[in-house]
């Protein structure tokens, strides 16, 4: 598999593309202090080797009618592989769930759920999440205000 050598310029490229994913190669090259050709080569390598996973438009949730975000901790009954896997598969497939992690701490899983309003969240909980028989406990933390979201990853540890 690909090597893990990222130099300072690679980091600057990724930082720049995190901030603006639609930067043209020419503008990008200028920002990172390179000429277009090697810059493009590097970008392609970062894409090909999986450092850059995708490019996305970031929508503003409130504006698109999705002003209701909930952070949900879930405890399950059993960690037997097959049942847990079925749970994971089911939750992963739910479009309202925009993030889903197996965690170590007070709960077993962490979900970020995005819906239009409280009623839709109730609906989601009752008809989808609590339908899964393995679910033992659900802790809902409703977002009242989003102070930061989708922020760029901190690349400082690699000499950006």
């Amino acid at each position: 598999m690909p090597k893990n050598d990222l130099d300072a310029i690679d980091c600057r490229i990724m930082a720049a593309l995190q901030a603006d994913g639609r930067l043209s190669n020419i503008d990008l090259a200028e920002r990172v202090g390179l000429s277009p050709s090697p810059c493009l080569r590097r970008v392609k390598r970062l894409e090909r080797e999986g450092y850059i996973d995708a490019y996305r438009a970031v929508l503003q949730r409130d504006r698109v009618g999705l002003g209701f975000s909930v952070f949900v901790g879930v405890k399950i009954e059993s960690h037997a592989n097959d049942r847990a896997l079925a749970f994971e598969k089911a939750v992963t497939a739910m479009p309202e769930v925009v993030a889903f992690h197996l965690v170590s701490g007070e709960v077993d899983y962490f979900l970020e759920v995005v819906v239009p309003d409280l009623e839709r969240y109730r609906e989601f909980m009752v008809t989808k999440l609590l339908e899964l028989p393995i679910v033992r406990e659900v802790r809902s933390n409703i977002a009242i205000q989003t102070l930061k979201a989708g922020a760029p990853l901190p690349l400082g540890h690699l000499g950006a």
Copy 2:
């Protein structure tokens, strides 16, 4: 402020750009069943009126040495405006914090923290988070496995 009218085509545009933020206008137009001119007009409007907030490259955390994500619940001492605001400002400014929400539930705030490893997380906790005098309690849920992250928002509620 801008109107809130999004028709089915606007939704399809946003859905397509969520999936691939680097789509050219021509490809985008084709996907949503429009010719390039009106398509570009719509995209510009969506950007101008704040439906589309930004375009970002999505990096794969493991590959860039940020394989350690923690979901942190924080309780604070007082909700007096000035102290809470100072806390919010300080946390928002921390680059390791990629998401930060005021919530209603078991804790007051929710943070998503991204660092290279456990040691860096300890460092973050001790030297940054616990330094803030208003913090009363911190609950760390360490991500063992990420099953879903940064998923596109579900736009189904608007006839996408």
